[in-house]
Amino acid sequence: MQHDTRRPFAQARALVRQLHDLGNVCAPATVLASILEGIGQRDAYTLCTSPIGPVYVAYNGLGISAVMAAVSATEFEQAFRARFKRSLRQVETLPAALAHMWQQQWSGKRRPVSRVDLRGISEFERAVLHKAREVPRGEMRPYAWIAREIGHPQAVRAVGTALRRNPVPLLIPCHRIGKSDGRIGNYAFGSAAKHAILTTEGVDVNALEHLAHAGVRYHGSDTTRIYCFPTCRHARRISARHRVSFRSETAATAAGYRPCAVCRPALAA
């Protein structure tokens, strides 16, 4: 081209100017929000399906930060801001990794891993929630069991309070913790929801309530002379012929039984 060969410097200068112009772009408005979410200063949330129906799930770069039932997105946002003091925005779906993690919770194949954000809770509450996480699917433990396991045997009521404040119910299975007398007790999403989620996990809630009514707290095997919580995997495989019921630790001990080392209904002597 004629003008190209005649004006090479002008051409080069024009190219530099045009290149400089390519730097004049603004980052999309979502960048700042995404970064603050990534470092845990803000959250995003969406509505997810669960065994107890749709629940609101909030997350940030540290993991899932809240699981709540609410009648509307607005109500959820208000509750979230009031408790966590962070802003949040609604998104279409969970990011792929978290969506996969969420699905894994209900598959029942293996013990699911969950990345959760537990900042802003006390050491005691953290200990309670970590202990609750150890209870396997399909089993239950009493509040008093957690209190004893974390070294605060007198703090049974505080354990109940800590579980009620669980920011991520369903993921940290506070529904697997019940009353010492064997009744399933209260739940953040209501007793009916607790009944439902325990049933989907394979707990025979009606049978448990029946045992509680009859005053039975432990099952033992007359062949091994070991006693367990009724939902312990080792208690469930005792055949009816060999199953023995106990109303208290003292009764079991008096009969010459020792506590199970897996569900630990009492400290092993």
Binding site: M1, A12, Q18, L19, D21, G23, N24, A27, I35, Q41
Partner: protein, 195 residues
């Protein structure tokens, strides 16, 4: 707060000042990612990923180290690493795969037939140039983008790429020559078509 005061502020209170760092640098890092990747969606993800990594690194640094940090080249370096990791993992759809030089030229010719106004031509040129940059060999592309789009000095570029200044200059020069040649053939094609 100005750019120069930022390292001291970050060393004092990282959590309260990091949003300011994002506000100051996000446009530059987004432009950098956009011109390297040639794709707005990838650019956004690279920018977010890079700044989250920067925050995580800062949480591990001592206050003195943060204060001594040259933020701009350091952030470009992190962004470049994130970009390279994605290319290696083939998570990036490079521009050349869906918009070759040839189809870009055809696209321009179609549009031109309907309305050849100056503003549109300028937008077209911008788009063409962006495509051509995304098609440069990576080391030339990085050098040209840092030098002429981001406006960094050769010493700063050499430092952040850990290359001798002469090497950087050579890459910028070769990249610019390639761009001029590509634009030249492009203009030629357009003129022959117009007649």
């Amino acid at each position: 707060m100005h750019e120069q005061e930022l390292p001291t502020a970050l060393a004092g209170d990282l959590d309260n000042n990091f949003a300011r760092l994002v506000e100051i640098y996000q446009d530059r890092l987004y432009a950098f990612s956009l011109r390297l990747s040639g794709n707005p969606q990838d650019a956004e993800e690279i920018t977010v990923d890079a700044l989250v990594r920067a925050y995580q690194a800062l949480t591990r640094y001592e206050g003195e180290r943060i204060q001594a940090l040259a933020l701009r080249p350091w952030l470009y370096q992190i962004t470049l690493n994130v970009f390279r990791n994605r290319v290696r993992g083939q998570r990036l759809q490079l521009v050349s795969q869906h918009l070759t030089e040839e189809t870009a030229a055809l696209h321009v010719a179609d549009e031109e037939a309907s309305r050849p106004d100056a503003l549109l031509e300028r937008a077209e040129l911008r788009e063409t140039l962006a495509t051509l940059i995304a098609e440069l060999p990576e080391r030339e592309r990085v050098a040209v983008v840092l030098r002429h789009i981001q406006g960094s000095g050769y010493n700063e570029i050499a430092g952040l790429l850990r290359q001798p200044v002469g090497t950087v200059k050579a890459h910028v020069h070769r990249g610019m020559r390639r761009l001029r040649e590509a634009l030249h053939t492009h203009a030629e094609w357009r003129e022959t078509d117009a007649t």
